[in-house]
Structures are given as structure tokens and as C-alpha cells.
């Protein structure tokens, strides 16, 4: 026998207790993991939406603190496309606007010749034709509003016809409404203005060189899609809030794991007394219990990770969440969370083991 086989024997021969303790750890882990994943999704979804449409780089006003405060003259597009390494520059106006049924929705306007229209993954209908007041709905919005091709909709009290439904994957694109740029500029009184330019680079272009060239060409700031959105003030605030939520979730989960482990070890104080009475050193006694705690932690992870995926799937289909956020646990979330869980299990079993091993064997044996 060694400490590992001892721990395995102890867990295997108390299947009910081992299962309940591991499940408790797993539940705490699953809830923490789900909330951390949610926090992570907030920032990730924004970057994914631009990536999915095929843009390589975004250009915004240098002084803008967030995407909605950026305003650039539409004429700047010609200047940008003349720069080395840039294949196309598509102006985009983006804003929240009032639509039917007292809703505010994210609306984006693209020029009729934008590569976005060409690459749009339509699931039904078509893209708007120049001169018609038409819109394409993201699939999530279409489902939420129970709208189909041919229906009519108002934006800023102007009526648009739904001509298509786009099947994007990212949550933001799924919840977006897409119109022609001139229409949105007109109804929002933003003639000649765009929020940003979406650039497609030539295959041999060096992104760093393009960025330098763009920023020299005017009061612009340019960055790959994910980096640009990382500087967005709104996203920074959302990330800060969601990180706070996940921190609270982690603390609560940790306390739950600690409590479970401490109770599980404390009820075995008498066994610790037996170990010491037969000559086990304090170190060996504590090691055997911490080892068991680690195995419970691993069991909790095996239970908690699939559970967190299940929670994620359920979350994605909740009426108020669907189409707004996607929950995709990533390795960057999983690895630190699992590592923290196992470490907490070690700490959670170490403390009561240390307390029990600090007693005299007679005191420990007197415990019920």
C-alpha cells in the first residue's frame, strides 16, 4: 500500500460519500465555469462578429472612445484604398436605433458594393438592391421578432421591407439588422459619415505596415478586429463587469468547495487519530488526506466540466439570452479554472487535515 492506493481504497469503498463530495465540488466548479465563460464571451463575441464578416482590419476615428462615438467622412475611403496593401475599404455606419415594437436594435449600414453583401451567408431571400428601402435580418433577430422575408419593419419611423435573413454564427451578427449605407445615413441624419472602415488587405500585405500607413494618412486608428475592439470603452466596461461577476463566482465556488472538503475531512478526525496512534507522522497523515482531496478534485472536474457545457447549452437557448451571447468554454477558461479547483481541493483538505493532525491522538480519537 502507498498513499495513492490508500486514497483510492478510501474513495472506492465509500462510493456514496465519494460521489456526493465529488458532485458537490463538480457543481461548484460548473457554476463558476459557466459564469467565467459568460464573462469571457462578452468580449469574444464582439471580435468574432467583425472577423466573421471577412474584415482584416478596422479603421476608426483616432479620438473615439468606443465604436459608437467614431465618425469619419465617407470620402476617406478613397484615400484609404489608395494606400499600399489595402485591397478594399468598406465604410460602415453602426448604431442602436428604435425599431418596431418599442425595441432598440443594433443596425449597420453598408454601401451597396461592399464585400460584406457579397460574402453574406444568406439562409433565405437576397441582399437589398440599390434604391430600395430593404433590410436583411440576422437569424437571431428574425427568430426573436418572428419575422420572415416579405414582412415590413420601421427604423426611425421609416418603413423597410425584409428581403433576406443572414445565417451568421456569431451572436452579435445574429442579432443585427443590415441595411444599405445611404438609407441609414439618411434616416439617422448622418449623410456622408461612417463609423468605421472595414479593410480587406492584399494577400502579401504586412498588417503592421498597413496600420502605420493608415494612421499617417489621417486622424485614424487602425488595428486588427480583435485588438480594435479590445480598446473599445463599452467593451472594456462590459469586460470589467463580467470579470467582477466571474471573480465573485470563483470566490463563491471556492468557498463551496472548501466547505465541502472541510466537512468531509473533519468527519474523519477519528481516523486521523488512529493513524497517529499507530505511528504515522504528521506529514504522512496530512499527505494521505490531501491526496484524497486532490482525487476528489479530479472527480469534481470530471463531473463539473460536462455539467458546465450542459449549462452553456441551456443558457444559449434561454429566451432573453439567445442571439445575444454565445457560451463556448475555451481552453484559456478551462485550464485556469480546473487548476484553481484542484488547488482549492488540496487547500480544502489540507486545513482540516492539519488541524486534526495537530491534535494529540487521544483528542482526535475522542471526536465522534
Amino acid at each position: 500500500m502507498n498513499l495513492f492506493t490508500l486514497a483510492i481504497s478510501n474513495l472506492r469503498r465509500r462510493p456514496g460519500r465519494s460521489l456526493v463530495v465529488s458532485a458537490s465540488v463538480g457543481l461548484a466548479l460548473a457554476s463558476s465555469l459557466s459564469l467565467v465563460t459568460l464573462a469571457d464571451s462578452v468580449g469574444r463575441n464582439a471580435g468574432e462578429s467583425a472577423d466573421e464578416r471577412g474584415a482584416d482590419m478596422l479603421v476608426m476615428s483616432r479620438n473615439a472612445t468606443d465604436v459608437f462615438s467614431s465618425l469619419i467622412s465617407q470620402d476617406a475611403g478613397a484615400r484609404l484604398v489608395s494606400l499600399e496593401g489595402i485591397a478594399t475599404a468598406s465604410g460602415e455606419l453602426i448604431m442602436f436605433a428604435p425599431i418596431d415594437r418599442d425595441r432598440q436594435n443594433l443596425i449597420t449600414g453598408w454601401p451597396a458594393d461592399s464585400f460584406f453583401w457579397r460574402d453574406m451567408p444568406l439562409v433565405s431571400g437576397r441582399v437589398p438592391r440599390p434604391g430600395e428601402r430593404a433590410m436583411v435580418l440576422g437569424e437571431g433577430t428574425a427568430e426573436t421578432l418572428h419575422t420572415k422575408v416579405g414582412d415590413r419593419f420601421t427604423i426611425f419611423d421609416e418603413t423597410f421591407t425584409v428581403v433576406g435573413v443572414a445565417g451568421y454564427r456569431s451572436a452579435i451578427n445574429r442579432s443585427m439588422i443590415f441595411v444599405l449605407l445611404p438609407d441609414l445615413q439618411e434616416i439617422a441624419f448622418r449623410q456622408g459619415q461612417v463609423t468605421m472602415f472595414d479593410l480587406q488587405l492584399k494577400p502579401d500585405a504586412a498588417p503592421d505596415a498597413v496600420k502605420v500607413a493608415v494612421e499617417r494618412a489621417g486622424a485614424f486608428t487602425a488595428a486588427p478586429t480583435d485588438q480594435m475592439l479590445a480598446r473599445d470603452r463599452n467593451i472594456q466596461v462590459m469586460r470589467a463587469v463580467s470579470r467582477s461577476v466571474s471573480l465573485i463566482a470563483m470566490v463563491m465556488g471556492s468557498l463551496s468547495v472548501l466547505n465541502t472538503l472541510m466537512m468531509a475531512v473533519q468527519e474523519r478526525t477519528r481516523e486521523v487519530g488512529v493513524m497517529m496512534a499507530i505511528g504515522w507522522s504528521r506529514w504522512r497523515t496530512m499527505s494521505s488526506i490531501v491526496f484524497e482531496g486532490l482525487l476528489i478534485g479530479v472527480g469534481g472536474c470530471l463531473f463539473g466540466v460536462p455539467m458546465s457545457f450542459l449549462i452553456a447549452i441551456i443558457f444559449e437557448h434561454l429566451p432573453n439570452v439567445e442571439g445575444i451571447l454565445t457560451f463556448r468554454p475555451t481552453l484559456t477558461v478551462l485550464i485556469p479554472t480546473l487548476g484553481a479547483s484542484i488547488a482549492i481541493c488540496a487547500i480544502g483538505s489540507f486545513y482540516p487535515a492539519w488541524r486534526a493532525a495537530s491534535m494529540s491522538p487521544a483528542d482526535a480519537l475522542r471526536r465522534v
Binding site: 478510501n10 469503498r13 465509500r14 487519530g273 497517529m276 496512534a277 499507530i278 507522522s281 504528521r282
Partner: protein, 240 residues
């Protein structure tokens, strides 16, 4: 030599308690009062006394399982003052048997015996060989893979005895080893303990309140209200 205590000084007893007191609850309860006692190698002593007289506390103190309030305990002439030394002694020199057997419920009989060997870092294969031999010696070769819950009281105590002698102790302390057994099993367990004491030359100190079992030990120590009131040869001792 055991680390923490030196070899027996010329003529020093195996274990000596000198002026030992043990009080509980901030002095409200005195469990042991000025105990002076020596155990020599190969001794065989019964500790007799009524319930609550301090017998179990005496055994706990003799094995370092409980601390003392004042006085001194010497192992082979050297004072033992810290728990670390007591743990080493319990792993190598002192075996303890409890009335409630105190086997670990999730481990089989053989694994319970192996626990004592693991205390000394004995390799797994050697643990298994030695534990098998010991369980065979106590007549449990056929029950070694059973959990304590599946063993009778007498069998459990045999496992506890095998565990207590796994590291060839020089002193065996038994705290009412027959207290939870019927008279037949009690007699068999005492037979076994006396046989071990005789065959190995192990000193045995056995707490009991059963006069007939105590008569089988050549030395009797009588304890009353925490004080030793009698320590001498057992009149008409029948063993070992």
C-alpha cells in the same frame, strides 16, 4: 536506537513514569495523580481499576497518545517530551490495542495491518508479505480481504493485534482489549496476547476490569481515582 531517545541507559527500565499528573477541564478533573511506574523489558502487567479510575488515560499517556500535565516519562532512561518522538516510538517500539478496535472501516483486514508498516515506509511488497504472515499468526488468513464491517468483534480485535505487532514493538499497550467481546472471545484474545508476549519477549501492559483475565498476568497494577494503589505480583498468577 530510535531517533529522539537514546539507547537504554544501564539498567534503565523500558518505560518509566515519574510523578505524572494529567488533569482535564482546567484542573477540574484529575485523571492521573502522581503516577510513578516502571515497565521492564518482557514485563507482563494487568492494570486493574473501576470505570473512570484513569486506566485508559494511563495507557494513552504511556503510549504518548495523550499529553501529561506535569511529571516526566522516560523511554529507556531518556525523557520523551515531543510528539514527533512519540510518533517515532509508536511506529517502531510501542504497539497499542484499543477496546473499540479502531480499524479503518474502508480498508480490508490486510490493508489495516499494512497501515502500520506504511508508517515506517516499508515497501508495498514487503508490507503485503509481512501482513499476510501476521494475519496467519492470529488465525485470520482466510479473512484478510474482508472489510472490518464483515468481521466479528473477536476477528476485528485480532486484526488490531496483528496491526499492533507489525513493527515488532518492545512494548504492547492494550486498553481493555476484551471489553467489547464475549467471554469466549475475550479468553482467546488474552491467550493470543500472552502468547505474543511470551514468544517475542514483548512487554505487555493490559488494562482490564476482569479479575480472571488479570490473574493471567504475573504483575498487577491497581489504579483508583487516578492514583496507583497497588503494584506487585499477582497472587496465584496462571500465566504467562
Amino acid at each position: 536506537m530510535t531517533q529522539g531517545v537514546s539507547d537504554s541507559k544501564g539498567g534503565a527500565p523500558l518505560l518509566r513514569l515519574s510523578g505524572v499528573n494529567r488533569v482535564f477541564d482546567d484542573g477540574r478533573i484529575t485523571a492521573l495523580r502522581d503516577i510513578n511506574l516502571s515497565i521492564e523489558p518482557g514485563d507482563c502487567a494487568a492494570v486493574l481499576g473501576k470505570s473512570g479510575s484513569g486506566k485508559s488515560t494511563l495507557i494513552h499517556v504511556m503510549g504518548g497518545c495523550d499529553s501529561i500535565t506535569s511529571g516526566e516519562i522516560l523511554w529507556r532512561g531518556e525523557a520523551v517530551r515531543d510528539q514527533k518522538t512519540w510518533r517515532r516510538l509508536r511506529a517502531t517500539e510501542i504497539g497499542i490495542i484499543f477496546q473499540e478496535f479502531l480499524l479503518l472501516p474502508a480498508l480490508t483486514a490486510i490493508e489495516n495491518v499494512e497501515m502500520a508498516l506504511l508508517a515506517n515506509g516499508v515497501p508495498a511488497a514487503k508490507q503485503r508479505r509481512r501482513s499476510t504472515e501476521l494475519l496467519d499468526q492470529v488465525g485470520l488468513a482466510h479473512r484478510m480481504h474482508h472489510l472490518p464491517g464483515a468481521l466479528s468483534g473477536g476477528e476485528r480485535q485480532r486484526v488490531a493485534i496483528a496491526r499492533s505487532i507489525a513493527n515488532d514493538p518492545t512494548l504492547l499497550l492494550a486498553d481493555e482489549p476484551t471489553g467489547n467481546l464475549d467471554s469466549v472471545n475475550a479468553s482467546l484474545i488474552v491467550d493470543l496476547l500472552l502468547e505474543i508476549q511470551r514468544a517475542r519477549g514483548t512487554a505487555l501492559v493490559m488494562v482490564t476490569h476482569d479479575e480472571s483475565l488479570a490473574e493471567r498476568c504475573p504483575r498487577r497494577i491497581v489504579i483508583r481515582d487516578g492514583s496507583i494503589v497497588g503494584d506487585g505480583p499477582t497472587p496465584g498468577a496462571t500465566g504467562p
